[in-house]
Structure formats: structure tokens, C-alpha cells
């Protein structure tokens, strides 16, 4: 028995092992010579490990499986069925293929007609009787289907081994995605092929049949007189075999059987099992179109499976996939070039072609909320047709408010942290969107009045351009929102950097400003508040934050400038709350006589009896600024005694202290210490006002 190495030499052993492994085999000997030196036992150990590593291929790589008792019997049975065997009245010929849920054979039928058919034997692990019963229930409807792009399902039964099988029209074709790639079909040809698929699915839907498992391997392309004809296979089979997906053993079964989770609609992923309708097929069609256009599925099947079931379900239900054109742009150059080449295009042209209309069509088909998808497969086909003939498509990007709501729903916990502000954000966006739509309506009316055909076309193009531009801005705002929800404020700031300062962005700058301020990054907060106030000058709240921030940061020139702007805009207000808050902020630093008079007039015109404490506080500060220290004290004393509002109380106490100091009254009454400021509370700007006043009081006392 070898003696066990102690911990220190074990870690030495490990690092030499890792070092050697990182090198090509021929360089390892030299490396070992220098790394181990004279330490022969170490050398021997690492050599043994490297040898073991070389032989351990596959060791521990697959985890254990549990197998039912009869498994060995069946798997040792030489070929469950093979060429020459009879299944029902069908004689098996060759194996056609093997999929996730069964093996497909070419078989020969002699009665009532002699023909070749495709026969699919469902793999083990299914309750045959249920499957057959389900199939029988739909048999009538299946028989009614008659469409050149649908492979008919002819029969179903039970094999001698007790497994269910289905008989279908024999289609010798290849997967639609493979066909398109092998023949380098251009985007337009791909779309035409896809439109035929939509029509086939529509036909089935009209007969009351939902496919439930639309994916490339279920759509085969054959050539008829060198014209490609797509055929949808397996109609009615998913429904019959889905029983196992609906009971409580669902998770493991799904895990074992599903080959392509990328094509599953969110409601199927939900697996309540009860409520699947034609719109699930529309979703899968959307995924198929996505793959035809980009060569990729919106979610990677392998990643979905690897992530585990709950993560998989969550992804399919909640994660918004990137648009097809974005998916292309995100590819590495070589991949994108190859993808474009397979579509007889160049990289930039392909991205440009897909961006916009096709993005919207695909994303509309793949909406998580099925009520927002295309109503029918035909509607999807029609919109694609509109795209091909350069007509405006009906699929439009969802409006920003809707996106924002969805985003907030998804990120509820993170958003809760800044929930108060989010309300303002939605409100801001909602209001400005409203304005936008009004403007758009006005434009549309103008167009109607002008009647002239040419002008109408131009106006429509103009409208579309505006729509697009707005959609782009909306996209950026939305992405910024997502970044913000992940606390990536700097990235969010970058994202909206080149968005013009329209009112819609103000709310976002506001949120970024708050977060910076609460994290003590006051200058960064100021930058964002200046943008917010520029973008939406009618919102007085921004000045409540901006002015105290500037005062706190000793940015006096800018303070004066923004104070003037604020007074020009709001001095005429009749809203007492606005007047009081603005007066207090504006008077944080001494103002010119003229400005002080304007502030006092503003306070006086909104004054009420009995006077509100906030008005008295602002008034007291105004008296103080005019050198009326006694009057200031008289107005401030009651505010200090008012227990309602601690912030106002503190602020009044500070101004009172300053007034008394000026009056040379002995002793400095209780000042508030400057460092008692907590920016984390929702009233951080109030506390900042307190801090500015405290600083001034401190200086007087000196």
C-alpha cells in the first residue's frame, strides 16, 4: 500500500499535473523534468496521474441511469422488428429514420390497395391503449384533412410487442432547414416555402386539428418536377402521444423524450396540459421562420436541456429572445458570412433585409402572450406576402408601455427596490406616448384631407419612417430599462446617450439620477438630472432634486443658472406645494434682490390661512436672506415646534440657529450635525437640503 501524500504535496502534485496537462504531450517530459527536479516520488505520482488521465476517457462522464426490470429482456431481444416482419397488415421494408419518440420504417401495404407507406413505431414507455384511444378520437378529423402539403395519417395500431404504431403517407424528403441550406435558398425563396407550410397548417386548423409538434424534422421537402414541395408530417400523432406530458410524471418524461424544446410554446412549456390551441402552432411556426432566416433557433435546445427543467420552462415562458436581425448581428463574422452565403447574400445585406418587417413578423408569431400572436396561420402567411410585395406589414413592434410593463413584471423584485420611481417612469412614458399617438393621429387626418394619391403615399412613408425611428428609440429606452433593472446604471446611461432629449427619456434619466444620488455619486446624479430637466422642462420635480444637488456640490454658477430657469418657468404657479418646495430650493443660496422678490411674491400669492409649515419654512428662509432675522425667527419657531415633519423641523432649526447667531444671541442652539445625512431614504433630497443648510450654519457659528 502506498503511503498517502500529505496535503501540501498533494497540491504541488495537482499544480504540476495541471501544468503538464496544459502542454502538448511531446513537451510534457521536459516540463516534468524542470518542475519535479529531484523529487522522484512526485514525478512518479504525476506520471501515474497523467497515464490514468490518458486512459480515463469516458470514465465518470455519464451518470447512472435507473432501468425498469424488463428493459434488459427487451433490449437483448434481437431487433424488435426488422425487414420482412409483419406489423398488422404492413410488411416492414427498410428503416427510414429514428427520432426522439419512435422509429420510422418504409412498409408495404397490400390491402385494400398496394402501396408503400411510412410506419412509425413509438418507443417504449408509453401506455399503448391510451395512445390508440386518443388517435381513434381524432381519426375522423384526420381523415378529413386533404392538402398537398400535409402527409396523411392513414392508420394506427398495436405491434405484437404491445407498442403503438402509426401509418402515414410515405414522404421521401429532407428536413426543410436542411433543404434550404443545401440548395442555398435566398431569404425570399425560404419565405415562399414557409408560406406553403402556413397554408398547410391553416388547413389542419380549420379541420380542428392542432399539430403540437411543428419543428424542422416534421416538415419534409420533396421535389415534384423539380419544384420543392414541403410536407408537414405527424399530424395527429403528438396529440395522441402527449398523454405522458400531462400527468404528474411530466418533468422526467419531458426530460427524457423531448428532442427540441426550442420549438415549444410558452403555454406548452407550462404543461398544465389542458389548454393548448392553434396558437401554439403559430408560435412554433414563428420559431421555424426564425431558424429559416437566421440558421439558429431563438433559444438553443442543448442549452435549454442543460439548464434543467425549471430553468428551461422559465426561459421559454419569460425570456424575450433577441430579434432575428439582432441574432445575426451577434454572430461572429465567419458564422454570419457563412449564414449569409447559404442565403445567397452578403452579411450586411442580409441583416438589413431582415431588420424591421421580418423581425416584427417573427416576434409577433413568437409572442409569449398568445393573444398577441397572429390569429391564424393564414394571417402570418398574409403578412409575409405583404413583405414580399413591399406592402406595409401588420406586425408592428409592441408599444413601449407594454414592453415596459412586461419588463417590470419579469423583474419585479429588482424593481421593487426603486418602485416609487418606477411609477413615475411609467407615468412619464405613458403620458408622452399618448402625445405621440395624438400627433400620429393628427398626421393621419391631415393625410386624409389632402386626398392626393402621391402625397398620401409620401405621408405614409414619412409616418413609417417616424414609426421606425420611434420604435428604435423605444427599443433603446426599453433596453436601458432592462439594464437599470440589473443595476447596470452606467450601461443604461450609455445606451440612451445618443437618444435625443425628448420627453420620453426624462423618466429614465430621473431613475439613473436617483440611483447615483443614493449611492453618493452626486456629480453623476447632477449630469442625469440636467438631462432630465432639459428633456422635460415642464416637470418641476426635477428641480427639487437638481438645485439641492448643485448647492451641495458647490456648483454655484450652475445653481444660479438653473434657479433662473426654474423661476422663469414656475414663478407664476398657483400650486402652493410647488411654490413652497421651489422657494426653499431656490433660497438654498442667496439670490439677487429681484429674484428674492419673485420668490416672495410666489409664496405670498399661494399663501393660505392658517399658514402651512412648509410655507413658513420657505418664508422664514426668505426673511433670513433679506436680513430680517427677527421676522425669520418669528416664522420659524412654530415650524421647529411642529412635530409633523422632521425634515422641515431640522431645516427650520438650522435657519433659526443662523438667525439667532446673526442677532448675536448667546450660545448656539442645537444645530444638526452635517454628517447626519442619510441619502438612502426616499426623502434623500430633503436630507440634502438639510445638509446644505447645516454647512452654512456651521460656517456662521465659526
Amino acid at each position: 500500500m502506498k503511503s498517502e501524500p500529505d496535503a501540501a504535496s498533494a497540491s504541488r502534485e495537482e499544480s504540476v499535473f495541471n501544468g503538464a496537462l496544459a502542454l502538448p504531450p511531446e513537451q510534457r517530459a521536459a516540463f516534468m523534468d524542470s518542475a519535479c527536479g529531484a523529487d522522484a516520488p512526485l514525478r512518479a505520482r504525476v506520471d501515474a496521474l497523467l497515464r490514468a488521465y490518458g486512459q480515463s476517457n469516458g470514465f465518470l462522464e455519464s451518470s447512472p441511469r435507473l432501468t425498469g426490470p424488463a428493459a434488459t429482456e427487451i433490449s437483448t431481444m434481437p431487433g424488435t422488428e426488422g425487414p420482412g416482419d409483419l406489423i398488422g397488415p404492413y410488411k416492414i421494408r427498410e428503416k427510414l429514420g429514428e427520432g426522439g419518440c419512435g422509429i420510422v420504417y418504409v412498409a408495404e401495404q397490400s390491402e385494400p390497395v398496394r402501396r408503400r407507406v411510412a410506419l412509425k413505431v413509438i418507443k417504449l414507455g408509453m401506455d399503448t391503449r391510451t395512445v390508440i384511444a386518443r388517435f381513434e378520437a381524432e381519426r375522423q378529423a384526420l381523415a378529413m384533412m386533404d392538402h398537398p402539403n400535409i402527409a396523411k395519417v392513414l392508420d394506427a395500431g398495436t405491434t405484437a410487442n404491445g407498442r403503438p404504431y402509426f401509418v402515414m403517407e410515405l414522404v421521401r424528403g429532407i428536413k426543410i432547414t436542411d433543404y434550404c441550406d443545401q440548395h442555398n435558398l435566398g431569404t425570399e425563396e425560404r419565405i415562399r416555402l414557409f408560406i406553403s407550410v402556413c397554408h398547410a397548417v391553416q388547413h389542419a386548423h380549420q379541420k380542428g386539428i392542432i399539430h403540437r409538434d411543428i419543428k424542422p424534422s416534421n416538415i419534409l421537402v420533396t421535389l415534384h418536377d423539380s419544384v420543392p414541395v414541403p410536407k408537414v408530417i405527424d399530424f395527429g400523432i403528438a396529440k395522441a402521444t402527449e398523454g405522458r406530458l400531462t400527468n404528474q410524471t411530466v418533468y422526467t418524461q419531458l426530460y427524457e423524450f423531448i428532442g427540441t424544446p426550442a420549438y415549444i410554446s410558452p403555454e406548452q412549456a407550462e404543461m398544465s396540459g389542458l389548454d393548448i390551441d392553434t396558437r401554439s402552432d403559430i408560435y412554433s411556426l414563428g420559431v421555424l421562420l426564425y431558424e429559416l432566416l437566421t440558421g439558429k433557433t431563438p433559444f438553443n435546445s442543448q442549452e435549454l436541456i442543460d439548464a434543467g427543467l425549471d430553468a428551461m420552462r422559465r426561459t421559454i415562458r419569460e425570456k424575450e429572445p433577441v430579434a432575428p436581425s439582432t441574432c445575426l448581428s451577434l454572430m461572429v463574422d465567419a458564422d454570419l458570412t457563412a449564414t449569409a452565403k447559404r442565403r445567397r447574400s452578403e452579411a450586411p445585406r442580409l441583416v438589413h433585409l431582415i431588420k424591421g418587417d421580418l423581425d416584427w413578423i417573427v416576434m409577433k408569431a413568437m409572442e409569449k402572450d398568445r393573444t398577441r400572436r397572429f390569429e391564424t396561420a393564414n394571417a402570418l402567411a398574409a403578412d409575409l406576402h405583404r413583405f414580399l410585395t413591399n406592402e406595409p406589414v401588420e406586425a408592428r413592434p409592441p408599444n413601449n408601455l407594454y414592453r415596459l410593463r412586461k419588463m417590470i413584471r419579469r423583474n419585479r423584485t429588482t424593481f421593487a427596490a426603486i418602485s416609487g420611481i418606477v411609477a413615475a417612469l411609467i407615468l412619464g412614458l405613458g403620458v408622452s406616448l399618448n402625445l405621440y399617438f395624438k400627433e400620429k393621429d393628427a398626421l393621419r387626418r391631415t393625410v386624409q384631407v389632402e386626398e392626393e394619391k402621391r402625397k398620401e403615399v409620401e405621408a405614409r412613408l414619412e409616418m413609417e419612417r417616424k414609426d421606425r425611428q420611434f420604435a428604435e428609440i423605444g427599443q433603446k429606452l426599453w433596453q436601458a430599462g432592462v439594464l437599470m433593472s440589473q443595476d447596470r446604471m452606467a450601461d443604461a446611461e450609455n445606451m440612451i446617450q445618443d437618444v435625443p432629449l425628448i420627453p420620453q427619456v426624462a423618466a429614465l434619466y430621473n431613475v439613473i439620477g436617483v440611483v447615483y444620488a443614493r449611492n453618493g455619486k452626486l456629480d453623476a446624479a447632477i449630469t442625469n438630472y440636467i438631462k432630465a430637466a432639459t428633456a422635460q422642462p415642464t416637470n418641476e420635480f426635477f428641480f427639487d432634486y437638481l438645485l439641492p444637488l448643485l448647492a451641495q456640490q458647490h456648483r454655484y454658477d450652475e445653481f444660479s443658472q438653473w434657479r433662473r430657469t426654474a423661476l422663469d418657468r414656475f414663478a407664476q404657479t398657483s400650486d402652493p406645494a410647488l411654490a413652497e418646495r421651489l422657494a426653499l430650493s431656490c433660497l438654498l443660496l442667496p439670490a439677487s434682490d429681484e429674484e428674492t422678490r419673485r420668490i416672495i411674491t410666489m409664496l405670498d400669492t399661494t399663501a393660505s390661512t392658517p399658514p402651512r409649515p412648509a410655507a413658513e419654512l420657505a418664508g422664514g428662509l426668505a426673511e433670513y436672506r433679506q436680513g430680517q432675522f427677527k421676522r425669520a425667527a418669528a416664522r420659524l419657531e412654530p415650524v421647529v415646534d411642529n412635530q409633523q415633519n422632521t425634515n422641515a423641523q431640522n431645516q427650520a432649526r438650522l435657519i433659526l440657529a443662523m438667525a439667532k447667531a446673526k442677532l448675536a444671541q448667546p450660545g448656539r442652539p442645537d444645530t444638526v450635525k452635517q454628517n447626519e445625512v442619510f441619502l438612502h431614504g426616499p426623502d434623500w433630497n430633503e436630507q440634502m437640503i438639510t445638509a446644505v443648510l447645516a454647512r452654512e450654519a456651521e460656517n456662521i457659528g465659526r
Partner: protein, 185 residues
Amino acid sequence: MTDVTQLLRAIDNGDSKSAAQLLPLVYDELRRLAASKMAHEPAGQTLQATALVHEAWLRLTGGGDVQFSGRAHFFGAAAEAMRRILIDRARSKAAQRHGGGMARQDLDQIEIAAPLPNDELLALNDALEQLAAQDPQKAELVKLRFFAGLTIEQAADTLGISEPTAKRWWAYARAWLFDKCRPEK
């Protein structure tokens, strides 16, 4: 909130008593799941350890919002439970072969298609115990990978280490265990 969710939360707050309670719960659930599945499934159904562990996770926690560290505790416990189930099974088989007649257990109807024969599985277990004494974290990685069927990525996540580190550890641990289990080959 389920019991297990509560336990996970308690473990997170440093309650070691809860950690001791978690393993038996997970162990029982996995045994029960495996047995009931095999009993009710048609012949020949196979079930991956990974799938079993994930289903246990969904059943015991409702798949709901469990803190990340909670997941780590759970998968650690599940890997340990799977190890015990498999090793118990391999031992009882070995005992039967050597003439030790035993009462049938619920798991006796289940074949374990471990990618290793029984004796090698037992040898691996011994080697793993030696590795655990010397380097518990690498042993834990092997358990998560092999017995709970987590991917490198998921195991790295669970252990809170980077993926490259996990890959290096995995290479080393595999070579180490292979060397211990099959020194003659």
C-alpha cells in the same frame, strides 16, 4: 412554502441542524420517486439520475424562488443521496451474489444501469472517500457531476467556483480516481 424550502433557508442562515435534516428528506424522496416510477412505468423505461434529481427538486421546493445558495445545498444533498442509493444497491447485490439472502427491498425491482459494474462502483466509492478526506471540494464536485448528473457549468455554479477551475479540478479528480480504482490497468 414547503418544508424543504424552509430548511434550505435555515441552512442558509447557518443552522447546521437543518442541514442534518435535509439529507434524509431528499434521500427518501429520491428513493420513493425511483421506486414509484419504476413500478408504474411500462417495461423498459429508463430514468436518468439527472432527471430524477431535477424532479425531486421540483417536487420538494415547488421549483419556486429559492436563494441560489439554497440550490447549492439541495444539489449537494441530492448528490449524496443518489450516491447512497446507488452504493446501497450495489452492496446488496454483491451480498446476494455471495449467498447472503435478504428481504426484498423496494428498490430491488430497479436495475441500476450505472456506467460501471457493481464492483467498480464500490471501488469508486472507496476511492471517493479517500479523495474526500484529502480534498473534500473535489470529491464534492465528482459527486455532483457523477451522482447528480450536473454539467460542469452547473456544478461550478453550485460550488461557487469558476468554470475553468471546475474543469481543472474535474480532470485532476478523474485521473486521481481512475488511478485508485484501476491501478493495474
